[in-house]
C-alpha cells in the first residue's frame, strides 16, 4: 500500500458551489443565476468508491466536471492529495492531471471515430511523456487493453467496430493509461445493455481492489450504486441531503428523498410542485425538497434544514430525519436550530 497518512483522503471537496447564468437579463435588469451546486463537501479515501446519486438536474455531473477541473467552481476548494486543484493552472495542473481521469457516459460520443484504438489509448501517454519509446509504448497499450478485457489484436481497430460495451472498455483503457489514482465515472453503464453493464461494473471493482484506485461513481442506478460503493452521497437540487456508508444509507434512509429513491414507493400522480415547478434551490436556504415532502413540519417552512450527524459516519440535511437514532447537529451555532430532534418511528 501507499505510505500516505491514513487520515488524509485522496480527494476532499470543501464547500463546492457552482452558479450558471440563466438566459435573459438585459442591459438594466439583473442577470438571473442558477446555483446548480451549493456548498457541497465530501471526501474519497484511497481505494474507496464514493457513489454520487441523484436525478437529472441534481448537479451530479457538474460536481464530476469540477472534480476533473473541466469546470471551475464558483466557490470552494478541491484538495487532491492535499493540493488545492482550484489554485493550480498551466504546467502545475497538467502535472496533476494524470493522477485523475474520467470515464464518460456515452462511449459513442467520447471516442474519436477516426482514431484507432492504439492511438486513442496511447494519446495520454504521449501527452504526459510516459514511455517515449514506441515499441515499449506499444507493449504498454497491449497490456492496458488486456487489463480491460480486450485483446492486443484490437489495437488497429476503429471504435465503430466495437459494441457499446467494447467502446466503454476502450474509454476505460484510455482513462487508466497513465495509472491514475482517482477515476471519475459519470453514468458509465447507463447506455449499455444489461449483460455489458455487469461486466463493466466488475472491471471497476477489480481496478479498485487490485490497482488501489479510488472511484467517484456518478449514477442514478441505486442497486448498482449500493453494490459498487463503499459510501454514498445523495444529491437533491445541488445539495447533499444525505451521506454515509452505502448499505446503511440505502437500506435505512434517513432523508425522505433518499427513501423515495431507495424503495421506489411513490405517489403516482405528477405532484403539482414537481421539481420542474418547485422554487429554485437555495431559495432563502429552505429545504428544496419541501414541496415534495410528506413529512414537512412548520419548521421546514421557516428555517433552513440543519445538517445532522449520526455516529460520526452518517449525515443528513433535514429537520425531521427518519430512524430511531439520536442526531446531533454538526454546526449548532451557524444553523441556529434546536439541538435535539425528537426521534420518530420510521413508517
Amino acid at each position: 500500500m501507499l505510505p500516505d497518512a491514513p487520515t488524509l483522503p485522496l480527494l476532499a471537496a470543501e464547500g463546492l458551489s457552482r452558479e450558471f447564468d440563466l438566459p435573459g437579463g438585459g442591459l438594466f435588469s439583473r442577470k438571473r443565476r442558477l446555483e446548480a451546486v451549493s456548498e457541497v463537501s465530501f471526501s474519497i479515501g484511497r481505494r474507496e468508491v464514493l457513489g454520487l446519486v441523484g436525478e437529472s438536474g441534481s448537479g451530479k455531473t457538474t460536481i464530476g466536471r469540477m472534480v476533473m477541473r473541466l469546470l471551475p467552481p464558483t466557490r470552494g476548494r478541491i484538495l487532491f492529495d492535499g493540493v488545492d486543484l482550484t489554485a493550480l493552472s498551466g504546467r502545475a495542473l497538467r502535472a496533476q492531471r494524470r493522477r485523475f481521469q474520467m470515464v464518460f457516459q456515452d462511449p459513442y460520443a467520447s471516442l474519436n471515430p477516426r482514431m484507432r484504438v492504439r492511438e486513442i489509448v496511447e494519446e495520454p501517454l504521449l501527452v504526459h511523456g510516459i514511455d517515449p519509446d514506441p515499441s515499449s509504448r506499444r507493449e504498454r497499450v497491449a497490456r492496458l487493453l488486456e487489463r480491460v478485457g480486450l485483446s492486443s489484436r484490437d489495437m488497429e481497430r476503429l471504435p465503430r467496430e466495437f459494441s457499446g460495451g467494447g467502446r466503454q472498455r476502450v474509454g476505460i483503457a484510455r482513462a487508466i493509461a497513465c495509472g491514475p489514482e482517482l477515476l471519475v465515472a459519470d453514468e458509465p453503464i447507463a447506455s449499455l445493455d444489461l449483460s455489458m453493464g455487469a461486466q463493466i461494473i466488475n472491471l471497476f471493482s477489480s481496478l479498485v481492489e487490485t490497482e488501489a484506485m479510488s472511484l467517484l461513481f456518478i449514477s442514478h442506478d441505486i442497486p448498482m450504486v449500493r453494490y459498487l460503493s463503499d459510501r454514498v452521497a445523495v444529491l437533491y437540487r445541488g445539495r447533499i441531503v444525505e451521506s454515509g456508508p452505502a448499505a446503511a444509507v440505502l437500506d435505512a434512509p434517513r432523508h425522505p428523498y433518499t427513501r423515495l429513491l431507495a424503495d421506489g414507493t411513490l405517489p403516482e400522480a405528477e405532484s403539482p410542485l414537481s421539481p420542474a415547478s418547485s422554487p429554485e434551490p437555495g431559495t432563502a436556504g429552505l429545504c428544496a425538497f419541501l414541496p415534495r415532502c410528506d413529512r414537512a413540519l412548520s419548521a421546514c417552512r421557516l428555517t433552513p434544514p440543519p445538517r445532522l450527524s449520526e455516529g460520526g459516519t452518517r449525515e443528513v440535511l433535514c429537520h425531521l430525519p427518519q430512524g430511531e437514532s439520536s442526531w446531533s447537529p454538526l454546526h449548532p451555532f451557524s444553523q441556529g436550530l434546536p439541538t435535539h430532534v425528537p426521534a420518530t418511528p420510521s413508517r
Binding site: S163, S195, S206, V208
Partner: protein, 336 residues
C-alpha cells in the same frame, strides 16, 4: 382464455437487408395477448423486441419484409389488411408509447393541437367536445393542471410530463391495445416509477391490454402479468411474471440476466463479482448454428452448438432450450 384472446402472433418472421447482408431480426415469433392482460417483452438491444412491437402496428423499417407468419388482432389479419384499414386501426384500436417523448412529439405544435389532430382524424366529435376530452385525458394521465399543459409546447414540459402527455395521446381513443416501447428508459428513476404506477392504474380502470417492451427487468416485474424473453430475434422463454421472478427463469439466458444485477442476490462488491454474462450478443448476420445463446451458456454441450432447441412446456409457460434450469433461484430477487 381462447375467446378472450385479443392478439395472436403466429410464427412471425421478418428479414431486413443491411450492409452486412440479409438478417432475420425477428424469427419465428409466436405469442398471444389476452384482453386486459399486460405482457412484458424483455430483451437487450438487437433482440428484436422493438421490431416485433412495430410490426403489430403494420410499421416495418425500409428494406424489411415479412417472410412468414400471421398477426390476428380482434378478428382481423393485420398482415393482409390494406394500408387504409391499418391507419384506422392505429390510434383507434392499437396505440404506441415511445421511449423518447421529445422526439415523438412535434416541437412546434402545442400539446392541445397535437391531441386535437388525433380526434379530428378518427372521430366526428365537435370542437368543444374534443377540448373537454383533451383536458380529461391529461388529468387522467396524472397532470394536475391540464389547461396549462394543453397550451404548452413540448419543450416547456419536464421529461416526465412529456411522457404523461404521450400516454394521454395514446389513450385518447380508448384503444384495445397499448404498446409501450421502453417508456421509462429516458426518465429519472423516481419519475419512471410514477409512470409505471400510472400505466398499471389506467389498465386496471379501462381494461386495455398492454405490451410492455423493456430491457429493465425490475420495471417489467412491476407491470406485467406474463413475461416473454427475447434473444437474438427469437422468443426463448414465456412464463407468468410471478414464476419468472420468484422461482426463476428456466432459460439460462434469463437466469444470467437476473444474476447480472445486484438485485439477483450479490449485494456488494466485497461479497463477489456480479455474475456477468461473458462475451456478447452475436451479430444477427453471423449467428451460431444451434442455439444462439450456446456460446455464452454455462449449460451448453455439443447438442446445443449443433442443433436448434425445441419448445418444451405449453401455452403460457414454455422454454426454448435443450437444458432448461429447473432449480429454484438461489436467493430471492428484489424488485429495484
Amino acid at each position: 382464455m381462447a375467446e378472450a384472446t385479443l392478439l395472436q402472433v403466429a410464427n412471425l418472421t421478418l428479414s431486413l437487408k443491411t450492409r452486412e447482408g440479409e438478417i432475420v431480426p425477428v424469427r419465428d415469433v409466436s405469442f398471444s395477448l389476452g384482453r386486459g392482460e399486460a405482457v412484458g417483452l424483455v430483451g437487450e438491444s438487437g433482440s428484436g423486441k422493438t421490431l416485433t412491437g412495430l410490426s403489430l402496428l403494420g410499421l416495418f423499417p425500409p428494406g424489411s419484409k415479412v417472410d412468414g407468419g400471421r398477426i390476428s388482432f380482434d378478428g382481423e389479419d393485420l398482415l393482409t389488411l390494406p394500408e387504409s384499414r391499418l391507419r384506422a386501426i392505429r390510434g383507434q384500436k392499437i396505440s404506441m408509447i415511445f421511449q423518447e417523448p421529445q422526439s415523438a412529439l412535434n416541437p412546434v405544435l402545442t400539446v392541445e393541437t397535437q391531441i386535437r389532430e388525433i380526434y379530428r382524424s378518427h372521430t366526428s366529435l365537435s370542437s368543444t367536445e374534443i377540448g373537454e376530452r383533451i383536458l380529461e385525458g391529461l388529468r387522467a394521465a396524472g397532470l394536475p393542471d391540464p389547461l396549462t399543459v394543453s397550451r404548452s409546447y413540448p419543450h416547456q414540459l419536464s421529461g416526465g410530463m412529456r411522457q404523461r402527455v404521450m400516454i394521454a395521446m395514446a389513450l385518447s381513443l380508448d384503444p384495445l391495445l397499448v404498446i409501450a416501447d421502453e417508456p421509462t428508459t429516458a426518465l429519472d428513476p423516481t419519475v419512471a416509477l410514477q409512470i409505471l404506477a400510472l400505466l398499471a392504474r389506467i389498465r386496471k380502470r379501462s381494461g386495455q391490454s398492454l405490451l410492455f417492451i423493456s430491457h429493465d427487468l425490475s420495471h417489467v416485474r412491476r407491470v406485467s402479468d406474463r413475461v416473454l424473453l427475447m434473444y437474438a430475434g427469437r422468443i426463448v422463454e414465456e412464463a407468468p411474471s410471478g414464476r419468472f421472478f420468484s422461482r426463476g427463469p428456466r432459460h439460462p439466458y434469463g437466469r444470467a440476466l437476473l444474476a447480472s444485477r445486484p438485485e439477483g442476490g450479490i449485494l456488494t462488491r466485497k461479497e463477489a463479482p456480479l455474475a456477468a454474462i461473458g462475451g456478447q450478443v452475436p451479430p444477427l448476420w453471423d449467428l451460431p448454428t444451434g442455439c444462439s445463446f450456446a456460446p455464452r451458456c454455462g449449460r451448453a454441450d455439443t447438442l446445443c452448438t449443433t442443433t436448434l432447441p425445441l419448445w418444451s412446456g405449453g401455452e403460457g409457460e414454455r422454454v426454448f432450450c435443450h437444458h432448461p434450469d429447473e432449480s429454484p433461484l438461489g436467493a430471492p430477487v428484489h424488485a429495484a
